[in-house]
């Protein structure tokens, strides 16, 4: 197949476009000067400043609390929901309902939850953000687990049921072990989504101590400083590692499931 060399222009343009801003961001985080615009020399001082910033430390802890809590809720509910939808109903409406939190714009979910929390007079805080994050994460977990269920062989489950096991025993002993790679992938997805989520957290946090994305948002509004760059560089490293580790894990999980 002959390919026009011209095609390589948008191809490379895409990668330059995607990575140039990240590269500049990281380089400037090592700036010894006080500006995020002009590079004066190498230094790690902004990383030191970062470690000493109380607001950022609290933000990191809060983000991890919300991500962990919402991932647990979303993984349990999402897995059950996926099994229920794949095995116990043919309703297209329920299918669509389960996907809705993943499809609706985050802004719509955010105002819905804000209105609801205020209607039941719930004081906003980390737990209201956790419940909100679990809502959309559950949809993603259910979708990921679901894809493993639809392709899966049901004969083992049927055999288990024919031998007299009830739905719960069949689930625990037969379905669940087969689903583990999907559940792990779904949980990782839920965790990562929650770590980075801004819009819904912004609406449902109230006056409580914010999560990290909200801390970054308010820092950025006060101006550009290499401290944000240092934070950005660390976050980039964390998410790149997580994505690559996640990919490895699902690949190992899949090859194990095939054995």
């Amino acid at each position: 197949m002959r390919r026009s060399k011209l095609l390589y222009v948008p191809f490379w343009a895409t990668y330059v476009f995607l990575y140039l801003p990240i590269l500049v961001l990281v380089v400037m985080s090592f700036n010894s000067g006080d500006s995020a615009y002009t590079y004066e020399g190498f230094s790690l001082k902004w990383y030191g400043e970062l470690a000493g910033d109380e607001r950022i430390r609290t933000g990191v802890v809060n983000t991890l609390v919300v991500a962990a809590g919402s991932t647990v809720i979303a993984t349990v509910l999402g897995t059950l929901l996926a099994v229920g939808l794949a095995r116990y109903t043919r309703s297209k409406t329920l299918d669509a309902l389960a996907l809705m939190p993943a499809v609706l714009p985050d802004l719509v979910l955010a105002i819905g939850l804000l209105v609801f929390y205020s209607a039941i007079q719930l004081t906003l805080g980390l737990y209201s953000v956790t419940l909100a994050h679990a809502l959309f994460s559950m949809a993603f977990v259910a979708a990921v687990v679901r894809t493993r269920l639809t392709g899966a062989d049901t004969s083992l489950e049927e055999a288990s049921r024919d031998l007299g096991a009830g739905p719960v025993v069949t689930f625990m002993k037969v379905t669940l072990p087969q689903l583990t790679p999907g559940i792990v992938a779904g949980a990782l997805l839920a965790f990562t989504l929650s770590l980075d989520e801004f819009v819904i957290a912004f609406f449902t946090i109230g006056n409580a101590e914010p999560t990290l994305p909200i801390v970054i948002y308010s820092m950025v509004r006060f101006g550009v400083t290499p401290k944000i760059n240092a934070l950005a560089a660390i976050l980039l490293l964390v998410s790149f590692t997580a994505v690559i580790a996640g990919q490895r894990m699902t690949r190992i999980g899949e090859s194990r499931a095939q054995d």
């Binding site: 801003p21 349990v76 929901l81 719509v108 809502l135 009830g166 980039l236």
Partner: protein, 288 residues
């Protein structure tokens, strides 16, 4: 035998009911309480009046809808449509060739190229927007590069183009992925046949590859358009203080003006546009 066969299904049916209850009810309860009830509340607020200090007064009014068709607000909706459409179009124009080339790479490079497209998407959204503030602001990198050429400095932030750049940067991966999977799935023999029959590379692309990848194009366009249209963070951070998009308006009604009924009406308009779009997309996908 027959009576035995008849007697057996009973526990299975009971098992099915139990199973349906055990597996479906927790998730569905969560969805009803935290999704359907909130959306119902938002929907009902569109016909009520605002309270003096925020909140809602439960007296019927159509005022929110009359306000919605005010040219001022319709203009903002139109603005959002234009910005989102422009973003989608540019994403398609650079995303398609990228996806097309990735699909033809040897499989080792293919995975790497795909991961490289998705990777920035997994980093913090606010940070990605911040990177552009840094690049484009007055003393930023772009202006100092232009300065070396004897140009500028220009005010590169706070334009519609800046918003489009930010949206494109955030959502381009969502265009490339569905395009890639649509193109990758095509049988290479089809293209070979077309080439063997004397079609040029461009004709083959136009008559074979492109029509067969239309479902991927539609999905990609939807994936980019939806988050762009309802965005408020990017227009706020890169577009300045003006309420240029519906998202900004909604955010302001809820968090600043505290006019929840009108905010809800704007959100309903946002959903209506997206639903209309989904219907068009489904119709086009069926024809493709």
């Amino acid at each position: 035998m027959k009576s035995e066969a008849k007697a057996r299904p009973a526990p299975r049916v009971r098992g099915r009911r139990l199973g349906a209850f055990v597996f479906l009810s927790p998730g569905l309860t969560y969805l009803v309480v935290l999704l359907l009830v909130p959306l119902g509340l938002v929907l009902s607020y569109t016909v009520f009046q605002r309270g003096r200090f925020g909140g809602v007064v439960y007296e019927f009014t159509t005022e929110n809808f009359t306000r919605l068709i005010d040219p001022l607000y319709l203009g903002v909706v139109g603005n959002s449509l234009r910005i989102a459409a422009l973003t989608t179009l540019i994403a398609l124009l650079i995303g398609y060739p990228t996806a097309y080339l990735i699909a033809q790479l040897p499989s080792r490079w293919k995975t790497l190229a795909l991961v490289a497209v998705v990777l920035p998407f997994w980093t913090n959204f606010i940070i990605r927007v911040y990177a552009w503030i840094m690049l484009l602001s007055g003393p930023g990198l772009v202006n100092s590069a232009l300065g070396k050429l004897g140009l500028g400095p220009y005010e590169l932030l706070y334009h519609e183009g800046t918003i489009v750049t930010g949206l494109l940067y955030s959502y381009l991966p969502l265009m490339v992925l569905p395009l890639y999977s649509a193109i990758e799935r095509l049988d290479p023999q089809l293209r070979e046949a077309s080439a063997n029959l004397g079609a040029s590379a461009f004709t083959t692309f136009r008559k074979v590859t492109l029509p067969l990848s239309v479902p991927g194009v539609l999905t990609g366009c939807l994936f980019v358009f939806v988050p762009s249209f309802g965005n408020f963070v990017i227009p706020e951070m890169l577009g300045g203080s003006k309420s240029t998009m519906v998202g900004n308006l909604i955010r302001d009604q809820f968090l600043k003006a505290r006019d929840w009924p009108f905010g809800s009406t704007l959100a309903l308009a946002l959903i209506a546009v997206l639903v209309a779009l989904l219907i068009v997309q489904a119709w086009a996908a069926r024809r493709a």
